[in-house]
């Protein structure tokens, strides 16, 4: 057993580790006055107005939070800096999102029903045979999805403000409001915009990976991956191959700790890769990814190059006073697959629901305890999902033999079924115990074979 030498995964990291949680609490800004905590029942009723909540950031997280709050009658302000933002993103949404968020089917550009996993030695495995006819992974354009969710929130009564959030004044006393400073872009005022302030009772920070709200509440930092993507327009005959197929390339040449992908978009493909530990070599990894897919994207023209950070784990502090973080700002991106859209939207909704409940539809003031209920609910519901994906990433992305074993195992029908079930419906479903045992045996077998081959490979090169 010890012959399978486990090289520790974060030995690969070049940068320094995240500071331990205990140290962050001592170095963080402590509020001058301890918040008076009481159960929601004894919170004061708001006499002459409804609760005011501001949401910074109008992506999926902000949009769904705004909709939930506005529907409950709470005065909602959604501050978004660029209403037509075309975000760099994989753009994959699971099936359950369409149902849960009542998305119209026309915002889905493509339905991916087949995936190809390609190992470092080009062993290609097709997955997706176990999908039922109505199941698919939806590919969307972010600008279309974000705009739809925002517009729906507006229809329900939210105030959508085109502005850039600058900073936030913390209340000195517990019943004072938060004062937000932002630059409003109004067309009339020209490109520079005008400074404006807004007083609200609670704030939801949905402004993404470089969140300013997170900085304002000293939420701490997280490790992040860089995802680099090129949109390539390929000839129509080659596009037919990618009609409803997405590809995933694994290998040290493509990424040391993530994967390279070819995802079909509306009329072009997105070829990209990502990494946490070797960010400086991202261009090399991108070239390697393009090389691996060369035959299939031959004759293509690059129409856009983009990159964005992907959080690797939640920030140390996701909540402070009546300010909560959701979505990428909180760091809710899964490992292994790097999926964030669904979790952003869901966390926005959950946080909004917690505020609605705690304030009894806007009649009472909320407090930190109410917002903490959202954290509790979130952690309880999705912790297993995140943990399983973390384990998968640590076991199967650590070296080329592990990746070969990973791709081999994906050929197994049971694995495919479990993977798609958990991805499409976002539940870690317990499978058949007998099949699980067989799967465990097969996993160990694959790892044993891959490591034996690696030993042979090492012998070839003394």
């Amino acid at each position: 057993m010890s012959s399978i030498a486990f090289k520790p995964f974060h030995g690969l990291r070049r940068s320094s580790a995240v500071p331990t949680p205990t140290s962050t609490t001592t170095t963080l800004y402590k509020p001058a006055v301890k918040f008076h905590v009481s159960a929601a029942k004894t919170s004061p009723k708001l006499s002459n107005r409804n609760l005011r909540v501001a949401i910074i950031g109008g992506g999926p997280a902000g949009g769904s939070a705004a909709e939930t709050l506005a529907k409950a009658g709470i005065e909602t302000f959604l501050i978004e800096r660029k209403l037509d933002n075309c975000k760099p993103c994989g753009g994959a949404i699971p099936l359950c999102m369409v149902g849960e968020f009542d998305l119209p089917l026309d915002i889905i550009d493509r339905r991916v029903t087949k995936m190809k996993m390609i190992s470092p030695s080009n062993i290609a495995v097709d997955i997706g045979q176990t999908l039922k006819p109505h199941e698919y992974i939806g590919m969307v354009r972010r600008e279309v999805l974000d705009a739809y969710l925002r517009d729906r929130a507006k229809e329900n009564g939210a105030n959508v403000i085109n502005g850039l959030f600058l900073k936030m004044d913390m209340p000195k006393h517990w019943d004072e409001p938060y004062v937000l400073h932002y630059t409003e872009y109004d067309g009339k005022k020209g490109a520079m915009g005008a400074k404006a302030t807004l007083e609200v009772d609670a704030v939801i920070g949905a402004d993404g990976a470089n969140s300013r709200v997170a900085k304002a509440i000293n939420a701490g930092d997280y490790d992040y991956a860089i995802a680099f993507q090129e949109r390539i327009k390929i000839p129509d005959d080659k596009m037919v191959y990618y009609e409803n197929l997405a590809e995933m390339y694994v290998g040290d040449d493509v990424s040391p700790d993530f994967y390279g992908w070819v995802f079909p978009k509306c009329d072009h493909v997105a070829v990209g890769t990502g990494t946490v530990t070797h960010k400086n070599d991202i261009k090399k990894f991108q070239l390697a990814t393009r090389n691996r897919a060369k035959d299939k994207i031959l004759g293509g023209k690059i129409i856009r190059v983009e990159a964005h950070p992907i959080p690797e784990h939640p920030r140390p502090r996701r909540l402070s006073g009546r300010v909560a973080l959701v979505g990428d700002a909180a760091g809710y991106v899964t490992k292994c697959s790097g999926e964030g859209i669904y979790f952003a939207a869901k966390s926005g909704r959950m946080c909004a629901e917690a505020i609605v409940e705690g304030s009894q539809n806007g009649k009472k003031m909320v407090d930190e305890g109410d917002l903490r209920k959202y954290l509790e609910k979130w952690d309880k519901k999705y912790w297993p999902t995140y943990k399983v994906l973390d384990v998968l990433q640590k076991v199967f992305y650590r070296s080329n033999p592990a990746r070969e074993a990973f791709v081999e195992m994906c050929a197994d029908e049971y694995v495919q079924k479990m993977t798609f079930d958990s991805y499409l419906y976002k539940t870690v479903a317990p499978g058949n115990p007998l099949e699980d045992l067989k799967l465990a045996v097969n996993t160990i077998g694959s790892l044993v074979r891959a490591n034996a081959l690696r030993k042979e490979m090492e012998k070839l090169n003394v």
Binding site: D252, L298, K301, E376
Partner: protein
């Protein structure tokens, strides 16, 4: 920058990764030669690739020299590049190993299948190839039976560990007998002795070298690292007001 037409370089008939990169090098001097890139990205596993030996037709050293001479870009040099760079072996047909060619003395020689596959993977690690739909790789390592894997790779190590266990066992039996007077039969009946025996066996299997101890400790840290990052939000809560109910 956004509309760099890569059609020119991609449309080269041969799938030479190397040539395409050379085209790029003319427009963007920042990129170095193709081989260097492939090797740099793979630094984790590969050392001393110059000494790599493939006893089939291809030889890597002339290839690396060829790369320097690519400035001429003569057509036949291009062809040499492409045919030399792609992995080829007389026993590798249609994306899988032709098992009939591995029969020795009327019996299947799984060892050589293992070695051949290892060579292929090594080659691809150093010179990654494009994955094409026309020649998909069909080989699965599960075709080699499990006893073949054990015999080749794990048997010598198993022998070593068994030997160590036997020596330690004999020595401790001697010492315990000397100290407590319990003979071998009495020792095997005693619960403490049996527990000690169990822990010794585990120790020998897990701790082959001192390096393994560090590895195991790092592994334990790594397993719990992600959990700690998630629990950080709750650590903050227990430090503040007492009314709240603590969580995990």
């Amino acid at each position: 920058m956004a509309s760099i037409a890569i059609s020119a370089s991609l449309q080269k008939a041969c799938s030479s990764h190397h040539v395409a990169k050379k085209q790029h090098a003319q427009t963007k001097p920042a990129y170095s030669l193709g081989t260097k890139q492939a090797i740099d990205a793979v630094t984790i596993d590969v050392e001393g690739q110059k000494g790599f030996k493939i006893d089939e037709k291809d030889q890597p050293s002339p290839q690396i020299n060829n790369s320097e001479g690519l400035e001429d870009k003569s057509a036949n040099k291009l062809e040499i590049e492409s045919s030399a760079r792609k992995f080829s072996d007389e026993r590798w047909k249609n994306g899988t190993w032709d098992l009939n060619m591995f029969v020795r003395n009327g019996r299947m020689d799984w060892d050589s299948v293992t070695v051949a596959e290892a060579k292929r993977r090594k080659y691809l690690e150093m010179y990654p190839e494009t994955c094409s739909n026309q020649e998909p790789v069909q080989f699965r390592s599960s075709i080699v039976p499990c006893w073949a894997w054990f015999m080749r790779t794990y048997l010598p190590e198993a022998e070593l560990l068994n030997g160590r266990a036997a020596m330690i066992g004999f020595f401790s039996a001697y010492v315990v007998d000397g100290l407590t007077g319990m003979d071998l039969i009495g020792q095997t009946g005693n619960f403490i002795c049996k527990t000690a025996l169990f822990m010794t066996v585990i120790g020998i299997v897990l701790l082959r070298k001192t390096r393994d101890f560090d590895n195991l400790r790092k592994l334990a840290d790594e397993v719990t690292y992600y959990d700690k990052q998630w629990q950080a939000s709750w650590k903050d809560e227990t430090a503040s007001s007492s009314d709240k109910t603590g969580n995990s």
